[in-house]
Structures are given as C-alpha cells and as structure tokens.
C-alpha cells in the first residue's frame, strides 16, 4: 500500500481515515509514488479508479442519509408546532376545529376539546401518550439529535469529496506523467536512430 505523505490538516494533525472512509494519500512526486506502490502505470491507474468508485458508492449512501435527515427535521418541527398550538388553545377554553385527512383525498372535521396529553408516534408501530410538556421536550431532543447528526454527516461528505478530488487529481497527474515519459522515451529513441 502507498505510504507516501498522508493528508495534512491545518493544525498539522494527520488524518488517515474518517469514520471508515480511508483518506486518499497526497502524492508529492509521481515517480516516487509509483516506486512505492511497486506497480506499473496502468495498474496504478486501475487501482486509483477503483478507489474512486468505492468513494462514489459511499457518497451515494451518505447523500441518501442526508436526504432522510433533511426530510425528518421539518417533520419534527411541524410536530412541535402542533403541540404548541394545542397548548396555546388549552388556556382559552375554546375547542380547536381542524380538518384532517381521513383517507387519501378525503378530509374530515374534528373538534379538539381541552386536552392535557398528546400521543406521539415513535416508529415500529408504537405510539405513546405524553403530557404536552413531556411531548415538547421529547420532540425538542429529537430535533437536536437530528440536527447534530446532520452536521456530522455534512462534515463526512465534505471529507469524502476532498478525497475524491485528490484521487481525481492524482489520476490526472499519473496519466500526464506517463504521457510525458513516453514523449521523453520517443525523443531519446529518435535521437539514437
């Protein structure tokens, strides 16, 4: 495996991989890199291409996770909104009239009297009853967790994209180096003959 210079972070810390994603080693000199790998140009290019494909697969997975989280966050915010509205109505003593979707395209009217508790869908066919305050704090915690996970995910994606860019540049440089070598060899050959 290549043991050339590992990517340097601004603080001087070396990052060899991040959460299972191997870092792409930056190549200082193509000749030395090829010697260290012990492979010829074509094999090196094949190896780098394969690395690129692996990165792409991981990127797809992370992007899907990001989309899921980005859909989940507004959902939780909507739930918080509903609970807050119900709590606000509690004090006034009036009932809340709502139109809700009973089935696709069919709406029904509901009269929500004074309530002290709400039921939250927790997933896996489980629904629990909570007081308004408990529901609000649970939803807030979920929202914070989702936002924190999203931040970590975005940082992972940025790291991954950097590795993809480094690998693409390395492929271009190895290819160029090879072209350059061929030209030099041809020039020498034509000089001799």
């Amino acid at each position: 495996m290549a043991t050339s210079a590992s990517p340097q972070q601004p603080g001087g810390a070396v990052v060899a991989e991040r959460r299972g994603i191997p870092a792409a080693s930056f190549v200082e000199d193509v000749q030395i890199y090829l010697n260290q790998l012990g492979l010829d140009v074509n094999s090196t290019l094949a190896f780098l291409q394969e690395r690129l494909q692996q990165y792409k697969v991981v990127e797809m997975k992370l992007l899907a996770q990001q989309r899921d989280l980005q859909a989940k966050i507004p959902d939780i915010e909507k739930c918080l909104d509903v609970v807050a509205t119900l709590q606000a109505k509690k004090g006034t003593g009036e009932a809340l009239l709502t139109d809700f979707e009973a089935s696709e395209g069919i709406y029904s009217r509901a009269r929500v009297e004074d309530i002290d508790s709400v039921c939250l869908w927790l997933g896996a066919n489980v629904m629990l009853e909570y007081s308004c305050e408990e529901a609000t704090s649970l939803l807030r915690k979920n929202l914070e967790n989702a936002k924190a996970s999203l931040e970590v995910l975005i940082a992972d994606l940025q790291f991954l994209r950097d590795q993809v860019t480094i690998t693409q540049v390395t492929i271009a440089r190895v290819y160029n180096w090879d072209v350059h070598q061929r030209r030099v060899r041809q020039a020498l050959a034509s000089q001799d003959s």
Binding site: A5, Q8, F26, E28, K78, C79, D81, V82, T85, L96, L97, T98, D99, F100, E101, Y107, A110, Q158, R161, D162, T165, I166, Q168, V169, A172, R173, Y175, N176, W177, V179, H180, R182, R183
Partner: protein, 123 residues
C-alpha cells in the same frame, strides 16, 4: 471538473491540492445555496396569495392538519413566517455572494499556476 492535460510538467503541491479541494467544496455549496434560495422564494410567493382572501375563518395548515384559525391570527402568523423566510433568504443570498467571490479568487490563483491544464468551469 479536472481534465487530463497534455503531459504537462507542472508540479502539484499540497497547497495547490488544498486550493482545488476548497474550490470543489465552494462549488458544491454554491449549488446547494441556489436550490435553497429557489425553495425559499416559492414560499414567499405562496404567502402573498393569502392576503387576497376575505373569508372570516381560514384553514391554516399546522403539521398535517388544517386548523380553523381566525383570519387575524393567520395574518399575524403569515407575517411572522414571511419575516423569518425573508431574513433566511437574505442570509442565503449573502453567503452565495461570498462563495462566488471566493471561487473567483481561487480561479485566478489556479489558472495562473496551471493555465490550460485545469478546467474550473461548469460542464
């Protein structure tokens, strides 16, 4: 984004690589911001429509249900939401301008060093 040059000799330093990485990140962020701005703009148009209604009670969507809310309260809520969205939109636009400026700077630096060996334009 990058294309193979014609066997040029230009060496790529770690600093160059970092500049290229940074350009890639900024480019991604630019596209994300464009999408977000488009979505935020839609919302502004939708809230303008509401001011034209003249019914007393409006069915205001909260979460998945439509609650019957008196028109005044609805107007107040819409106003708050519009204000939040406009501020958000402003912030996005400012960030987009900053990103575009940084990308222009990086382009200058990278084109100066690599000239034709690098391609930083959109496909």
């Amino acid at each position: 984004m990058q294309q193979a040059g014609g066997g040029s000799e230009t060496e790529v330093t770690w600093e160059d690589q970092q500049n290229i990485n940074k350009f890639g990140r900024l480019n991604n962020r630019y596209h994300e911001l464009e999408d977000e701005i488009r979505i935020a703009k839609n919302f502004e148009d939708a809230s303008n429509e509401l001011i034209l209604t003249d019914e007393e009670v409006v069915r205001f969507q909260i979460g998945e249900v439509f609650a019957h809310v008196p028109k005044d309260e609805v107007e107040m809520r819409i106003e708050q939401m519009t204000e939040t969205t406009t501020k958000h939109l402003e912030k996005l636009k400012d960030e987009k301008d900053a990103v575009v400026a940084q990308m222009a700077d990086l382009k200058k630096v990278l084109y100066a060093k690599f000239k034709d060996s690098i391609n930083l334009e959109e496909d």
